[in-house]
Subunit: 356 residues, 2 copies
């Protein structure tokens, strides 16, 4: 049972399909790994993935969808590079580790960055109330991280702001249906909920592209990749191919994001309810801010936490250690994790609690 | 038979190994796709790949080896960003399509770039004589592209220059043993000779790193990735894993780069000798500049070229069309292409010549 924080568990039916067609993709007699990125079959995988994302998220044609390399880390630079100029105001919300990484990267550019809300005061155990966030008047955009994998918090709704809202959705993208009306740009690497590392999905409202700086290197300009349908240079074809299979699984096997979101909610409820009912485990995160994806908890001592992680490994349960910068425990419940796996985990935790 | 210019054919034993262990990597009970990038098994794949590259290329510890995302295209920016400052002289050699892309990207930065040698006069049918290249006195580095996939030329030796030499080796990296004494930085994406798109190998002489600008974004600074052993952010694990298998295949199955280079030479000789002996096909590239990797040739008319490409496809031979910007025909002979495949191709070409 795999509860890694990503890369992590993939849906078994997807793995089986990849395995079955590994030597012969779609009647070509070749592995999908061996097909040129200029072959129409690869462009079809790219285009069909775009269409599936739009359909699953009920996006209208106001959004462009592209697939890039470089993970969230490159987006930490591309977002300010594309959506602001030297000296511009840009507002960020600090909700811990990854939000801070985005802030540090953008601060390295010549922008006037301000952290206009932060959960640091509460040790990041709850997300700021977006309804109370005050933006600076001339700010070009607001940036936030929707799900905070290290601290186990999540924004569940996005109100309307007077400026474009850019969301790092790396760890909850495609985990549930989501209202994108008030969002202007969403980016997410694939290795949490939709596949392998190596590909990053970026959704951009077309109106954002009218003000991109003309001096941006072509490679770092979103418009380059939009114009070339994510095939400006050789795309990470295999990672896109695995994502495509997962998108098909979400749409055809699971029935869409509503159904998938319900399952993910059940998984999270099962684990949080057990933790809240058991004296040995403590989840420090405020209930309204709890992440559906990453459940962080502690035990009464570091020793006991180490024993727990060790005993879990011996029972075939991997990936329950907290982030290396934070300690404690963390269980990740991405799309590839089954409700049966969560159920087995709670039983294991119950046994452990009785014996300790 | 797959002669794609990359992504292209993979060695069959490698595909078989990937297929065999797809559900259970190294006794973990998990697919390699599902393992966290912080797991020691993934770091082992990264570190062992570094060691194998160093051993195969007989590099000493003067080189650092890292694995990045973004392909050659991102290196077109990272090279000038890391190895020069605003206003610095940087010298480039123009040998066609990809060299020009590197030049265009670097020109977008505030450097003083000069094309100090070019093969444009000969329509890129031969590479400039490096022994005659005159660098500008204060130039920070010389950049060149060792193998030119679109025009089918290749530099076969690298003399010593008074400044560091940076080589885009994307399409002949790991195809033969090579003297790196006179080179300071080598970069190559993997999808030609060592695997899948999505990962780019960069070799950097340590002395190059002492002068990197302090104002570079962390993500774009080579030192970031060196310090974190290519695990600064989530690496493209699966692409690295496939590369690792190909490196093992080169070392353990093929016996190293000398042996592999001999086979690649035989493949190229077979095809060039046939083309030179057959009146229907013409290779426009000067003999000393011919690429061992990409064999370009023409037929007497565009119509006949189309017929040839079509007939090849009907015989199960794919990837023989020339680059979309250039036309004609092109056959790529990367590591994954067997000598048997080349032999079958020349037989097909001979038949085609007899019937046309």
């Amino acid at each position: 049972m795999n509860f890694y924080p990503g890369p992590g568990a993939l849906p078994l039916p997807v793995l089986k399909r990849i395995h079955t067609e590994l030597f012969n993709f779609d009647g070509t007699g070749m592995s999908v790994m061996e097909i040129s990125h200029r072959n129409p079959k690869i462009q079809f995988i790219i285009d069909d993935s775009v269409e599936r994302i739009k359909r699953l998220m009920t996006l209208n044609d106001e959004f462009d969808v592209i697939f890039l390399q470089g993970g969230g880390s490159l987006q930490f630079l591309m977002v300010p590079m594309n959506f602001s100029e030297d000296g511009d105001y840009i507002d960020y919300i600090d909700t811990g580790y990854w939000a801070e990484k985005a802030i540090r990267a953008a601060k390295g550019l010549d922008r006037d960055l301000e952290i206009i809300a932060s959960s640091a005061d509460s040790y990041h155990t709850k997300v700021p109330n977006l309804a109370k966030v005050q933006l600076r008047e001339k700010t070009r955009y607001l940036h936030l991280c929707s799900n905070n994998t290290v601290v186990g918090t999540q924004f569940h709704d996005f109100p309307k702001f007077s400026v474009p809202v850019v969301v790092d959705m790396s760890s909850d993208f495609m985990s549930k249906s989501m209202d994108t009306t008030n969002l202007s740009c969403i980016y997410a690497h694939a290795q949490k909920n939709i596949g392998l590392s190596g590909v990053t999905v970026v959704l951009i409202r077309k109106e954002m592209l009218t003000q991109v700086s003309e001096n941006l290197p072509e490679f770092l300009d979103y418009r380059t990749h939009i114009a070339r349908r994510s095939n400006y240079h050789t795309p990470p074809c295999f990672s896109i191919y695995v994502m495509w299979h997962i998108l098909r699984w979400i749409e055809e096997d699971m029935g869409g994001l509503n159904q998938l979101g319900e399952i993910n909610q059940k998984k999270a409820d099962l684990l949080y309810n057990f933790i809240d009912s058991c004296a040995l485990f403590d989840c420090p995160v405020e209930k309204q801010s709890r992440s559906q994806m990453n459940v962080v908890f502690t035990l009464p001592s570091k020793d006991l936490e180490q024993q727990f992680i060790q005993a879990a490994a011996e029972s075939g349960i991997v990936g329950v250690a907290g982030h290396r910068t934070k300690g404690g425990c963390r269980v990740s419940l991405y799309n590839g994790v089954t409700i049966e796996a969560v159920s087995s985990l709670t039983m294991f935790m119950e046994d452990f609690a009785q014996n300790n």
